[in-house]
């Protein structure tokens, strides 16, 4: 159930105005957390560009729980299905993918341009089935890029994109395993390991 934003809630204003708490909001009350300026009891205050009310405020030092692992794999599964459909739609014109490297170049250029309106910044390989794709300013991480506060939680936001890469590779006939890592926001690296069957 997605709660609708409270009336009068404006995202465009840069400042956070105090509002009455959203009574029907299903956010969990985290013990020992400071109340947010917005009036919601939540974890760390959201960054300057205020997050929409349905965003989850995770505590900074959360241990991976069973539920969280499952939600990450659900997200990855969704990305996988979207990647399969996109792989079908974007690679329509020519039967030009003779080697794995061509397929990876298609991911870096065409897929990234279609989804994020920019190309991948670098592609490296060890020529033995492992590729590292690096994006120096990943659009989904830009919003939390100021400061180190969200560095530990950033990889969770990349689960969908890992699934996207894996799904597109699957449609093009390549079984793979994709993981993501964040060294410095907003740059991130996706590691693709081709599984040889």
């Amino acid at each position: 159930m997605i709660p609708t934003p409270a009336p009068g809630f404006t995202e465009s204003s840069g400042t956070l105005e105090s509002r009455p708490p959203l009574a029907q909001h299903p956010l969990p009350v985290l013990l020992g957390a400071e109340p947010c300026v917005c009036g919601r009891s939540a974890g760390p205050p959201p960054p300057r560009s205020c997050l929409p009310p349905r965003a989850l405020h995770l505590p900074p030092l959360c241990l991976p729980t069973q539920g969280q692992n499952m939600s990450l794999s659900v997200l990855e599964g969704m990305g996988f299905r979207v990647g399969q459909a996109l792989g079908e739609r974007l690679s329509r014109e020519t039967l030009a993918y003779r080697e794995e490297l061509d397929i990876l170049k298609f991911l870096c250029k065409d897929l990234w341009m279609a989804v994020f309106q920019k190309q991948m910044d670098s592609l490296r390989t060890n020529h033995q089935g492992t590729y590292v794709l690096q994006d120096n300013s990943f659009p989904l991480l830009i919003r939390m890029a100021s400061g180190l506060q969200y560095l530990e939680e950033a990889p969770k936001f990349l689960a969908f994109t890992c699934g996207l890469l894996r799904g597109t590779l699957c449609t093009l006939g390549v079984k793979s395993l994709v993981t993501a890592s964040v060294a410095a926001l907003p740059a991130c690296k996706f590691q693709v390991v081709i599984q040889k069957s």
Binding site: E88, R89, L95
Partner: protein, 139 residues
Amino acid sequence: MAVCVAVIAKENYPLYIRSVPTENELKFHYMVHTSLDVVDEKISAMGKALVDQRELYLGLLYPTEDYKVYGYVTNSRVKFVMVVDSSNTALRDNEIRSMFRKLHSSYTDVMCNPFYNPGDCIQSRAFDSMVTSMMIQVC
């Protein structure tokens, strides 16, 4: 114009097969099945060719006395096979290509449907109506 249209998955099982129901359907199923060998042969021959010359449309796979069989393969190794009547000589290569392109774009639409699981049989009404329009056309 087409007498039988089939969509075959990467693993070589049919996702969709439909023929004009006036004749023995099993005969068409058999023809599509035997044409898969020719498709595989063409794909492996294409693998050795230069990148520029590789195309999705495979052309005439093999002619029989009554029918001609055409093939098309996508980047995801999904094959489309079309059987047309030999007596219909007005059918040109360009028209077959455009029919395959329409099939390809309808198949892509089916794939993008979030309620469709890749690998299932295709049960989309839009796809059915597109194939119907290809099979009953003014000759």
